[in-house]
């Protein structure tokens, strides 16, 4: 175990607030609870966001107060943060005595902006360990306000470019926050294959590097430090391994990983291979588990306990869950950007596949990313394109020479399949499908 070895038994430091400050927070939490109840009763959703919003209006420091005093492990990155948060929370839970499971709080529903995080924390005032999925845009505030013990940085790829114009700006915000935090900052668990993560984490006090064996490298062309074109050393085309990246212009290079993924196994610091035996599918989830394992170890969980815990995770926030639509049984998969689609398409195992597309704010309003996804691999399957932007997909598939049927209405697209179908969806239709399928 690393130099920051910790023990899970160590409690958080109880919150010390002045009476006035405490009263204000209590009032905020109470009002937030009421707003969330109203939201739920009126069918407007889980109320996580409105709860956080109301709390923050009454006590602008609510998030900072709710974060302080807890032992925090934060998880961020473009893809996989919800699943990794669930894996990490399960790993830590496995390390706690069953009677102390209430020590842990997590935003399991994926509400990962300021309001969503505040909302989750407000509902567990006594939990002293917080495992928090954190949106990329919130990472800097999380470091500043929450002083996390561990920060997992999974990956950095193009996503919702209509909102995040320059991914490097986000990476810079992480880098600056880590630098400002200095010795009070988190130990970073970083994906060594991601140049932007490596660059951002250069300012961290300590990093545990993980090699996740990712095959997506479209967003790792230029050196984030000096702008030179990165080169690849020792690629292995047979396994799809792009090789280690290295900058010819400066000293930024792929760091040696202490935990790595190899042939679906997680190789730990001592070189021991573990078969993760996860219930969530896909090689990328083995990479996520490797990162979660490293973070769990830093929080004081043993490797064996962590793995045992992660094996209990099956459908984080509805991902990979099986839903029913009338007589149809469907497995729901989520992909939010080209890297996500690249990872998810090979998992589609049924002969009929439903692809659901929208392009409202939560999905990213520009669908051009579809053309970076290799839909050609779907040839031979019976494809149904659904969702408000199904026609955009139909054109993409036409140019891939993969015939499809366009059925814009989600319910109609899912109706009457005699055999199980896999459904792959962007964010907004995914949430609608969870509801329609009785999962949310």
């Amino acid at each position: 175990m690393g130099p920051m070895a910790s023990t899970l038994d160590r409690p958080g430091t109880p919150l010390r607030l002045t009476p006035a400050s405490r009263l204000r927070l209590a009032a905020a939490v109470g009002a937030g609870r009421m707003a969330a109840t109203v939201s739920r009763l009126t069918g407007k959703g889980s109320g996580a966001s409105i709860r956080g919003q109301v709390m923050t209006r009454i006590d602008p420091d609510a998030l900072a107060k709710l974060l302080s005093g807890r032992r925090i492990a934060a998880v961020s990155g473009t893809n996989g943060k919800t699943t990794t948060t669930h894996l990490l929370a399960a790993a830590i839970r496995a390390g706690l005595a069953p009677a102390r499971a209430d020590r842990i709080v997590t935003n399991a529903d994926g509400a990962n902006l300021h309001y969503g995080i505040a909302s989750a924390l407000s509902q567990a005032p006594t939990a002293d360990i917080a495992v928090l999925e954190t949106d990329e845009r919130v990472v800097a505030d999380m470091i500043r306000l929450g002083r996390p013990e561990v920060l997992v940085l999974l990956n950095f790829s193009r996503d919702q470019l209509d909102r995040n114009h320059e991914i490097k700006k986000l990476a810079r915000s992480w880098r600056d926050a880590l630098e400002a935090a200095g010795e009070d900052g988190p130990v970073v668990v970083g994906n060594a294959e991601e140049p932007l993560v490596v660059w951002a984490a250069q300012t961290a006090k300590q990093v545990v590097w993980v090699d996740t064996a990712s095959t997506w490298q479209e967003d790792a062309t230029m050196c984030p430090a000096c702008g030179a074109i990165l080169i690849r050393r020792n690629p292995d085309p047979a396994s799809g391994d792009p090789g280690d990246w290295d900058c010819p212009g400066c000293d930024l290079t792929e760091p040696a990983a202490s935990i790595r993924v190899e042939n679906g196994q997680i190789i730990d610091q001592r070189g021991i291979a573990h078969d993760p035996q996860l219930q969530v599918p896909g090689g990328f989830n083995v990479g996520n588990a490797a990162c979660a394992l490293a973070a769990a170890q830093l929080m004081g969980v043993s490797t064996e306990e962590a793995l045992a815990g992660m094996r209990t995770v099956h459908s984080p926030a509805g991902r990979f869950a099986t839903a029913t639509f009338g007589t149809t049984t469907a497995r729901l998969l989520l992909a939010k950007n080209p890297a996500g689609w690249h990872e998810a398409l090979p998992l589609l195992g049924t002969s009929t596949v439903v692809l659901a597309i929208d392009a409202v704010a939560a999905d990213g309003r520009d669908l051009s990313w579809m053309w970076d996804v290799d839909y050609e691999q779907l040839a031979g399957k019976d494809i149904i394109a659904t969702g408000p932007r199904a026609q955009d997909l139909a054109v993409r598939l036409a140019y891939a020479e993969v015939p499809c049927r366009v059925v814009p209405d989600l319910s109609e697209a899912l109706a009457g399949h005699p055999d199980p179908v896999d459904v792959l969806s962007t964010y907004t239709p995914f949430q609608k499908l969870r509801k329609l399928g009785g999962l949310a």
Partner: protein, 250 residues
Amino acid sequence: MTRPVHIVLVYQSLLGIYGDRGNATVLTKRLQWRGIENTLTVAEPGDPLPDDADLYLLGGGEDGAQTTAVRLLTEEGTLHRAAERGSVVFGVCAGYQILGTTFTVGEMDRVMPGLGLLDVSTRRGTTRAVGEVLTRLRPLPGDVSPLAGDDALVTGFENHGGFTTLGADALPLADVEIGIGNGDATRTEGAIQGSVIGTYPHGPVLARNPALADFLLETALGHRLDPLPRPEIDKLRQERIGTIRRSSRG
């Protein structure tokens, strides 16, 4: 033309963050569907660009990528020779901006030299232009039967912070109906100068606008192409054009 039509996708990994590689997919498929032989070269930084191609495509990218691309393309010079001999050079978004004489990068608006193949210059605008855009193609130089009605409409998604001003040698490609486009006072979009063409919309633009795709191919080939009816594209165009017009009224 007896040899295959040769298309080059320039520095996809630098100038390809907005799916603009789809423009290459669209062009090669539209040739293939008509039985016209073609080859596609995906040239990455460090590879020499083929010197004999008919069409060169550049897509969108971030500031840093733009600067690096200009440096590499200036050093190696293929695009300049291509433009001189009349091969088609087609740039989208950042790819459009770097074809110009200057553009600005960073918060400090540092002025960078472009490739100088289009007489346009770009500087940071007052706001960022993000959203669906609808423009109408102007009659293109040398086109004896210019597009009319809805066929001349270009639909796409723009996402750029730079606003572009045309100099005397460049002609506007289109007039803006809805959206920002070049962001200049004349409400134009894109630019054309000889066989060099720049435009802002992604989508990718050629997937959503087959007439523009065929114009590029016809310019490269030097002759007209047969129509290629694709109902799914017509339907998408109707959908996108209808939606943007309705939302701009609301």
